[in-house]
C-alpha cells in the first residue's frame, strides 16, 4: 500500500467503526444483527491488490479490536481480518473475473463475512472464550448473512466509490 493512501483508508474505517458502534448497534434487527463494518470490509478488500489488502486487513482488524463491548483478546479481529484479506485478495480474487459484478461482490461480502465470524469464534474457542449454544451461533451468523445480502445495495456502491477515491493517480 502506498503510504499516502494510508490516512484515507484509516479515516474511512474509523468512520465506519463509529457508525457501527453508535448507530447500527442500536437498531433492533428482526433476526440477529448486522455488521456493516465486516460486510463493507469484505467488499473493499476484494477490489484491492494483495499487499494493500493485507495492510488494510491489519488496520481494519486493529480498529475493530477497539470495540469496548468486545469480550475477546485484543488482536483477535486483527488476526482474522489479516487472514481473510490475504485469502480474498489472492486466492478468491484470482478465481474471479477481472471485472467484479455487483452480484459477485454481494456473494463475496455475504460468504466472507460469515466465514470471518466463524473464524473469529473458532480462534476465540481455541483461546478459551465462551462461544454459546449452537443455535445462538447459527442464528447470529445466518442473521448477519441475511442482512448483509439485503442491505448490499447500500454498502457495495459505497465501498466501490470510496475505494476509487483512495486510489492514487498512478493506481487508477
Amino acid at each position: 500500500m502506498e503510504i499516502n493512501r494510508l490516512p484515507k483508508v484509516l479515516l474511512i474505517f474509523l468512520s465506519l467503526f463509529l457508525v457501527q458502534e453508535v448507530l447500527i448497534n442500536q437498531i433492533n434487527f428482526l433476526v440477529a444483527g448486522f455488521s456493516l463494518y465486516l460486510a463493507f470490509f469484505m467488499a473493499w478488500v476484494i477490489q484491492d491488490q494483495r499487499n494493500s489488502a493485507v495492510v488494510t486487513g491489519f488496520i481494519a482488524g486493529l480498529i475493530l479490536d477497539l470495540s469496548p463491548t468486545l469480550d475477546a483478546p485484543f488482536g483477535l479481529w486483527t488476526l482474522v481480518l489479516t487472514s481473510m484479506s490475504y485469502v480474498l485478495s489472492s486466492n478468491v480474487r484470482a478465481a474471479l473475473d477481472a471485472e467484479l459484478s455487483p452480484l459477485v461482490m454481494l456473494s463475496v461480502a455475504v460468504l466472507a463475512s460469515s466465514f470471518a465470524l466463524a473464524l473469529f469464534l473458532l480462534f476465540g474457542a481455541i483461546l478459551g472464550q465462551e462461544v454459546g449454544s449452537a443455535s445462538y451461533l447459527f442464528r447470529s451468523i445466518s442473521g448477519n448473512a441475511l442482512w448483509s445480502a439485503l442491505l448490499s445495495p447500500l454498502y457495495i456502491p459505497l465501498a466501490m466509490k470510496l475505494y476509487k477515491i483512495t486510489l492514487t493517480a498512478r493506481q487508477r
Partner: protein, 305 residues
C-alpha cells in the same frame, strides 16, 4: 512458480499475522495498555452514543410510522408536515412514558428490597462482531458505579457491570454465553447455577442430587459475598422445562428470564443492599386468572301434551 511480488506479499502477510499473535499474547498476559485502549475508546464513544440515542430513537420509530410520501400538492405537504410533527411528538411522548413506566417499575422493585440504586439509560448495545451480549449505560464511576455491581430492571435481573469509565459503563447481560449466576428456588432452599445461552432461554443445573424443581418455580439470585457481583433476592426467571433423564446426578432444566433484554431503555445499578437478603419478598405475583362464569344447564322434562 512464485514471483518475487507474491513472495513479498506472503512475507508481509506472515509478519502481520505474527504481529497480531504477539498483540493477542500481550493482551492475554494482562498488559494494561491494551485494555486501557478499549476503555479510552468507550470514553470517546459514550458522548456520541448518548447524543445518537437522543436523536435516533424517536427518528427511527418515526420513519416506520410515515407511510405516504411523494404527494405533490402544497396543501397536502403542509398538512403532512404538521402531521409528521405531531406524530414525532406523540412518539416522543410514548417513548418518555414507556421510560417512566420502566423507571417506576425498577424503583418499586428496588424499594421493596431496600436496595440503594442509581438509574441509567441504555445508550448502546454490543454488536454482531463481538459475540457478547452487552449494553452501554450513560452513567459511570462519577455516579458511583463500579465493576461487578448488579443491574436490575422492573421485572428482575439484567446483568452485571463489566467495566466503567467516568461517564459510561458496560453491562454484561445475563443471556451472554459466559454469564453464570447462583440461584435458589423461591420458597425452598434448593440451589443451582443458571447459565446464559445467548437467547431468551437459560440453562439451569441444580447443585444437589436431592433438589427438586418443577415447571413454574421462580428462581432468585443467591447473592455473592459482599454483594458483588450479585445482591441476593433479585428475581431471575421461571423454570419452563425440567429434564428427567435416568442416571442423571442432578436435575437440569430450562428457564425463561423475567426481563426482556431486547427492549431495555431504563435500568438501575444496585450500589448496595441496605437491608441484606430480602428473602422471597421480590417474587413476582403469578398472573391472576380471569374469573370465568360457569353456567350449569339442567334440562327440564318436556311437558306432555
Amino acid at each position: 512458480m512464485a514471483t518475487r511480488g507474491s513472495n513479498r506479499s506472503r512475507l508481509l502477510w506472515v509478519s502481520l499475522l505474527v504481529t497480531s499473535l504477539f498483540i493477542i499474547t500481550l493482551d492475554l498476559r494482562g498488559v494494561s495498555l491494551l485494555s486501557s485502549l478499549r476503555s479510552g475508546t468507550q470514553s470517546v464513544l459514550a458522548p456520541v452514543e448518548r447524543l445518537a440515542t437522543r436523536v435516533f430513537s424517536p427518528v427511527g420509530d418515526f420513519f416506520s410510522e410515515v407511510g405516504n410520501l411523494g404527494r405533490s400538492s402544497e396543501k397536502i405537504d403542509k398538512l403532512e408536515e404538521e402531521n409528521q410533527e405531531l406524530k414525532s411528538q406523540v412518539i416522543f411522548n410514548e417513548n418518555t412514558l414507556a421510560q417512566l413506566e420502566s423507571l417506576k417499575g425498577v424503583l418499586d422493585l428496588a424499594g421493596k428490597a431496600r436496595y440503594k440504586t442509581v438509574s441509567a439509560r441504555v445508550i448502546s448495545k454490543g454488536g454482531t462482531g463481538t459475540f457478547s451480549e452487552t449494553i452501554v449505560l450513560d452513567i459511570g464511576s462519577d455516579s458511583g458505579v463500579r465493576r461487578d455491581m448488579t443491574v436490575i430492571a422492573a421485572s428482575g435481573l439484567v446483568g452485571v457491570v463489566k467495566s466503567t469509565t467516568a461517564s459510561s459503563s458496560i453491562v454484561l447481560l445475563m443471556n451472554d454465553p459466559s454469564f453464570r449466576i447462583g440461584v435458589r428456588v423461591a420458597g425452598k432452599q434448593d440451589m443451582g447455577i443458571l447459565l446464559g445461552q445467548g437467547d431468551k432461554n437459560y440453562s439451569l443445573q441444580m447443585l444437589s442430587a436431592t433438589s427438586a424443581i418443577s415447571v413454574g418455580d421462580v428462581l432468585l439470585a443467591r447473592g455473592s459475598s459482599g454483594d458483588k457481583p450479585f445482591v441476593p433476592g433479585v428475581p431471575v426467571g421461571r423454570v419452563s422445562y425440567v429434564e428427567n433423564t435416568v442416571g442423571q446426578l442432578t436435575k437440569e432444566g430450562r428457564v425463561n428470564g423475567f426481563v426482556d433484554l431486547n427492549s431495555l431503555s431504563v435500568v438501575s445499578v444496585v450500589l448496595s443492599a441496605v437491608a441484606g437478603d430480602p428473602g422471597d419478598a421480590l417474587v413476582p405475583q403469578a398472573p391472576r386468572p380471569a374469573p370465568t362464569v360457569t353456567v350449569f344447564v339442567t334440562p327440564s322434562p318436556t311437558p306432555k301434551e
